[in-house]
């Protein structure tokens, strides 16, 4: 179980990005972490996976626990070894390397070659599209294939928790559907998933539980069905019309109202 409690993260000793974030991912769950640009979603990911150092960020308060032991002070390689793997925003495949070599980097923490082989088998079954392109440079794959490769690479370490940062970013709606199904599939095979998304309708449609972040804090959380039914979530995140089914004209929108925050 992943447990983030009252986490505060500061960049460059001055920029306060996370202001007491608390979330929880129980074993076997899909949890969605939603929020607009700059809410601190990616920073939360970095804090969990030990990548804050690269960006001159520090955890100044709170802690991250993984199965009861503290991990916010550990380095990235230790955290992958402990069973948390991530798909970074923007895919970040090694474009100059072949698909197979990309997958090999994902298995770097995988000690035995037999478990590496079975992880590879699983990835190939899950993404048949990659099978025919094993020797091709990852840079020549399409956006959807690169996203699949990035997910496959993260699965090569046989993680117990997979964190995905905006997997739907820049993909066609059909591919978003496909990625969504893949995430459900991965979860069914016994991996918990933390899904960081701006695409709230996609994330909430598969998540068991959801958190909504704003300016570094969780402002709302609950079962996805509850969030989906919430009037504010519908208006601000799902873009559904409110007020008696009337379609809103843009000129009626009060802009200050659009800036509504739950806090402050």
């Amino acid at each position: 179980m992943l447990e983030v409690a009252n986490l505060e993260v500061v960049y460059n000793d001055v920029v306060l990005v996370l202001r007491g974030l608390s979330i929880e991912v129980r074993d076997g769950q899909i949890v969605a972490l939603l929020g607009a640009n700059g809410a601190g979603k990616t920073t939360s990911l970095r804090a969990i996976t030990g990548l804050l150092d690269v960006h001159e960020g520090d955890v100044t308060k709170g802690h991250v626990n993984w199965n009861g032991s503290r991990i916010d002070d550990k380095d990235a390689s230790h955290i992958v070894r402990a069973g948390i793997s991530q798909v970074m925003e923007g895919r970040r495949v090694f474009a100059e390397m072949s698909v197979d070599d990309n997958l090999k980097t994902g298995a770097i923490t995988n000690k035995s070659s037999s478990s590496e082989k079975s992880a590879y088998q699983r990835v190939m079954e899950m993404f048949p599209a990659l099978q025919s392109r094993r020797k091709d440079s990852a840079g020549y794959l399409s956006g959807g294939e690169q996203q699949m490769l990035a997910i496959g690479r993260a699965l090569m370490s046989n993680p117990k928790l997979l964190i995905l940062d905006e997997p739907s970013l820049g993909l066609a709606p059909m591919l978003v559907q496909q990625i969504r199904d893949i995430i459900v599939d991965i979860n069914k095979q016994g991996t918990s998933v933390l899904l960081i998304e701006q695409n709230a309708s996609m994330a909430l449609s598969i998540a068991d539980y959801g958190y909504i972040m704003e300016t570094g804090k969780v402002v709302m959380n609950g079962e996805s069905s509850k969030l989906l039914g919430d009037e504010d979530v519908q208006e601000f995140y799902l873009g559904l019309r409110t007020e008696g089914g009337e379609r809103k004209s843009f000129k009626d929108v009060k802009h200050y109202k659009r800036r509504k925050r739950w806090l402050s």
């Binding site: 001159e56 970074m88 070599d101 994902g106």
Partner: protein, 326 residues
């Protein structure tokens, strides 16, 4: 004009012999430069550090051979039943391993704490490291030149008028073996991790690759290659008298090779090294008698070549365009 002079001289008798000799020593010298450039490029590619200590490390490698082969006779003293050539080779391998260890130590002590700091500052630190290594080695080994005691001596193969030193053949063979080993290494797990780190450090960390380990290995390999370059530039016919305090300057003559090939390209280092080696030797043998060029023109040919390449391809022949310059 220079080309015309070369052609004018080429029609003299023994032209083929002269050309053959120049070609052979050019390739041998090119192999030395290519090895030095490779070590430099591997460190730069993996860690973004311009390693000005490369020359000092190269000379250190050659001094270590002197120490193990002629002073201590290690490991030959316990293996006296082996032929002398094998004993010397073992000493040389030991020296290369010790130099690789030096590279790892340098990385651990002065480079690792500087990760994320300005690259210029790190480059300056390597310059300081170079001075320290050179001062200490000269302190221990003395100012005079020291022979490496290699088994080839001044032996040459004679093909008519063409004379090829045994060491030159060995140099090219060793260079080929080193390149082969590197090609193999880059396919292994650790090698793949190194390529991934060179391409995108943060993404590599996210896969669980220990970037510190990759840096240490890169420095180890780079230093080992420097040692090989240092050893072969201290034997006949390059440095017939052995290794001297000036051996370290060889790295600065290999520097144009690195730039010509492109700072971050492995194949560029090999091509650049060969080009510079050939250019230097051909300039020495064909333009040496052109009085208005003065003596020592061969020494700057590499730099002229570098300027010419940079005018046409500012990032070198194989360099990546967006690579950060220092």
């Amino acid at each position: 004009m220079i080309a015309a002079l070369v052609i004018a001289q080429a029609v003299t008798p023994n032209a083929i012999d002269k050309f053959g000799n120049a070609l052979a020593s050019g390739i041998a010298l090119g192999a030395i430069y290519a090895i030095l450039a490779l070590g430099f490029v591997i460190i730069f590619k993996a860690t973004q550090v311009v390693n000005f200590a490369h020359g000092g490390i190269a000379a250190f490698g050659a001094y270590m051979v002197v120490y193990f082969a002629t002073v201590l006779n290690v490991p030959g003293r316990w293996l006296s039943f082996l032929p002398f050539g094998v004993q010397w080779t073992l000493s040389a391998i030991l020296a290369i391993l010790v130099t690789a260890l030096l590279g790892v130590i340098i990385e651990r002590i002065v480079i690792r704490p500087m990760i994320g700091k300005a690259l210029f500052a790190v480059a300056m630190i390597t310059l300081g490291v170079d001075l320290i290594i050179r001062t200490i080695t000269v302190d221990y080994m003395g100012n005079q030149s020291r022979g490496l005691g290699d088994p080839w001596g001044a032996g040459v193969f004679v093909f008519g008028g063409i004379r090829i030193a045994h060491t030159q053949v060995v140099t090219v063979l060793v260079a080929m073996i080193a390149v082969g080993l590197l090609a193999w290494f880059f396919r292994t797990r650790t090698g793949t991790a190194m390529r991934a780190t060179a391409f995108d450090q943060e993404a590599a960390m996210a896969q669980g690759i220990s970037v510190g380990k990759v840096f240490a290995i890169a420095w180890g390999i780079g230093a080992a290659l420097a040692a090989i370059g240092g050893i072969f530039s201290s034997v006949f016919p390059r440095g017939a008298a052995g290794v001297t305090p000036f051996t370290a300057l060889i790295a600065f003559r290999a520097f144009p090779a690195v730039i010509i090939g492109g700072l971050d390209s492995i194949s560029g280092a090999i091509v650049g090294g060969m080009l510079v080696g050939l250019a230097e030797v051909f300039a020495a043998s064909y333009l040496g008698s052109v009085s208005w060029l003065g003596t020592g023109f061969a020494g700057i040919v590499a730099w002229l070549l570098m300027m010419a390449v940079l005018l046409i391809k500012p990032y070198g022949i194989f360099g990546t365009e967006e690579v950060r310059r220092v």
